[in-house]
Symmetry: C2
Subunit: 491 residues, 2 copies
């Protein structure tokens, strides 16, 4: 795989001086065009230690307008990063649409190093590489251009470089450390490159011994990739918004998962007060225990309008020390959020070790409102099931406890509550025209909910369907479930 | 100071039930009005351990629309926070305009605890409180409403509460710990409250023994403060934008600081190449040493259009390991940035321990372009000197090394470069109509620069005025200065 990168490619100074200005100019031009698009660009700069990755980064910063680039180096993790799933640190550095993110080191670095040093075994190594392929696939489906460079140098050239740097008294701690394991790195990298050389994000192995050749090659490849992507983008027009099809409804004969919810279960006021207190006290204890065990948890609340999510959340937070949780109310995204993959804004709020995040509405909007209202195209919400499962799997593997509640009410009960809201001064703000409009799409939502639960209820992140016609009962059920799941996870 | 909060204030259930719905409704209304304004609201919830601060937070979350609130609890610092000036963690949680940030714990917590436990002495305690007053002043001048609650409880009531929680087996580690030092906390808090009871952000000491009294009082005070602020805001009209006055110019007779820059100094190409290499090598070593010593640094680049900032930055970054620095190119703010104090976007990018951030343009825009172009009102840019010095002082105290460069060229040289840019394909993107317009304001900028240097060149953060007519010389001078300052700081 690296043979073609040991052939001694060179570019003379005069050739370089001839080509460089043109390349420079063209890169600036495509970068300007890029700015007007919804395309985020990721440039991965990786490869053998000593191949001059830093120099390439500098060169790119020279060629491109720095106002549209952000370079991120990934090496020493902070505790904020360590306390979250491994990919969190990459999510927080993803470039926004129209800009270029240069990743110095990247999601490839840790798996390769950990494998070479024996911290993970081969199956785990492969698993991590698989996860990367899915990650890149997902980004690319979201219109991201991913250009991956691997800079190669023979063992002999690397040794020469090391000697030279030693002579210059240049401090290169990693070069010294890694050059001792050249062969192991060679093998591990080859495997990584082979496994992740995807059509949507191919690897470019570049011979790095001659700087001029290396840099010009990078420039050419990047320019070519950008031009192609822009052409494609132009052809597809401004990112075609979803066709306004009237949403599918659940077939009336079909039994929906929701039909199994015993919606009319009730609880007496006396029992409610007793049980509420009981579970709140238990939750208080359990969340403190989770904190001490550094186990995080997230609770996702979805449900019909006026199903009582807010009230249930308040009963839950009343049972926790306010230092331990954060409640995120999902409303319209900010422009920074809109400029990223739809999951970005949810990754953003993942709790640190031992803490709780409560999402009042969540990433499931993608397969609910965005589906029903045609905000997302069919392919987009269809692939979202997989993306969401992948996301939650990463949370689970990191030890995050996941609770998901669908609070279910009947259309009649909803109507009653809407009318009540319109009569109650401090509830009036909760009812809008949109809520009334949504009622007309009840069956379409039923189908979407049914599909959602079918596709995304997993062993590690199951949906809890909560009977909600009796608000009090719903609150107790939710608290009880939360306690059970925490208890299971902690024992 | 706490006497009035030990009088046994109570509210009966029937009174509470009568007042609560109205309060609730009114709070929702003002919150809705708030959303349309440029006012950020900070609610500080602090006080005696056991006074039910968490319950108050829950109550506020019940009364207000959660879509416009964010609650932040400050207790265990992450290393990302520890590695930056103490106020960084608060800056990152400041509410955006039109929203409410509930601060559970706040900038008051650490000084009080550290003083009580003897980690800081009295003068340092006072210094930290002074810093807080300036911080709150600054926020309030930026239109922030700050409402500070201190919940009080007598030693006896606190003991009772502790006993009750013990009986309920409620886990309250802090209550146990802090109740042993009731008296010390009492004294330290009283001092803090007295020192920071500002007109713009007064303290409200609330008796916390009776929950109903406590919560209703909080509701009333908050409502009152919001209503007053909104009324004020209405009166002042939509935040009056700056009057379009033609900017003042430097008096032609006056000698400007810039006149002392020997703008025509040059360097031979041979010397340049030699020195560039030399200082780049040195910088490489020094930045690695800084990394090992966990000393961060920032470099601020300001200068005339076409002064050669970009080229100088690239020569600087070429001398550093790309893992160690981040270059921030300051362009138009995002909407999240616009929704905060103007310094927020710069705080955001402060380096972690041992790293370097390079700002290509910076917070000095406030006293340069924003002043000259009337984007900021006179009072705004005038107070900015003080705000900036305060900001840089905090960086300095945290051990961050600060370098600030003004790259100076003559108007004739600028003209030459503009014309060159228009002729060079890969420089064309750097020249816009605006650059030409800015030239007409040369004298106004001269005055602004002169004032800026006068006001903000401090011992710990001096300006370096760089003669820039010879680009090469400028680069060498900058690199040399950077090396010197790092060397001094590290030795």
């Amino acid at each position: 795989m690296f043979e073609a990168a040991e052939l001694g490619h060179r570019i003379s100074k005069s050739e370089f001086d001839k080509e460089e200005p043109e390349l420079h100019t063209k890169l600036l031009k495509v970068q300007r065009d890029l700015r007007e698009t919804s395309i985020p660009v990721i440039v991965i700069v990786s490869g053998v230690e000593g191949a001059g990755k830093g120099e390439v980064v500098n060169r790119l910063n020279e060629w491109l307008d720095t106002r549209g680039i952000e370079t991120s180096a990934f090496w020493d993790e902070s505790d904020e990063e360590r306390e979250r799933p491994a990919h969190w640190r990459f999510w927080r550095r993803l470039p926004s649409r129209g800009t270029i993110g240069i990743m110095f080191g990247s999601w490839y670095t840790a798996p390769i190093i950990n494998f070479v040093y024996g911290d993970i075994d081969f199956p785990e190594y492969e698993r991590q590489l698989q996860r990367i392929t899915r990650f890149e696939h997902m980004l690319s489906e979201d219109n991201t251009l991913i250009v991956k460079f691997w800079f190669h140098m023979s063992a002999k050239d690397q040794r020469k470089k090391l000697e030279k740097e030693n002579k210059n008294k240049k401090y290169s701690p990693l070069l010294k450390k890694f050059s001792k394991r050249y062969k192991e790195f060679f093998q591990a990298s080859e495997h990584a490159i082979r496994m992740t050389d995807l059509g949507v994000s191919p690897w470019h192995v570049v011979e790095a011994t001659d700087r001029r050749y290396r840099d010009i090659t990078v420039g050419r490849i990047l320019l070519d990739a950008l031009e192609k992507k822009l052409k494609q983008h132009e052809k597809s027009g401004t990112r075609s918004s979803a066709k306004k099809t009237s949403p599918k409804k659940l077939n009336p004969d079909e039994i929906s998962i929701l039909d199994h919810v015993d919606i009319n279960k009730t609880i007496s006021k006396k029992d409610y007060n007793k049980q509420l207190k009981k579970y709140q006290r238990e939750l208080h204890k359990l969340t403190w225990a989770a904190r001490q065990n550094k186990r995080s948890s997230i609770s996702v609340f979805e449900g019909w309008d006026a199903a009582g999510k807010g009230g249930a959340i308040r009963r839950m937070t009343a049972g926790m020390d306010a230092r331990l949780y954060k409640a995120i109310s999902v409303a319209a995204p900010t422009d920074e959020e809109r400029a990223h993959h739809y999951l970005w804004r949810f990754w953003r709020h993942l709790p640190r070790a031992g803490y709780v995040t409560i999402y009042d509405r969540s990433w499931y909007g993608r397969v609910l409102v965005e589906r029903v209202e045609n905000f997302a195209r069919e392919v987009e919400w269809e692939r979202a099931y997989h993306e969401i499962n992948e996301f939650e799997e990463q949370l689970h593997e990191h030890g995050i406890i996941i609770c998901k509640y669908w609070v279910h009410i009947s259309p009649e009960e909803q109507l009653r509550r809407f009318q009540e809201r319109e009569k109650t001064p401090w509830k009036l703000h909760k009812i809008t025209e949109e809520d009334w409009r949504n009622r007309d799409k009840w069956e379409a939502y039923e189908l979407a909910i049914n599909d959602m639960v079918t596709h995304t209820s997993t062993e590690y992140a199951p949906w809890t369907l909560v009977p909600g016609n009796d608000k009090r009962l719903a609150r107790v059920e939710i608290l009880k479930t939360a306690c059970q799941r925490l208890e299971e996870a902690l024992s």
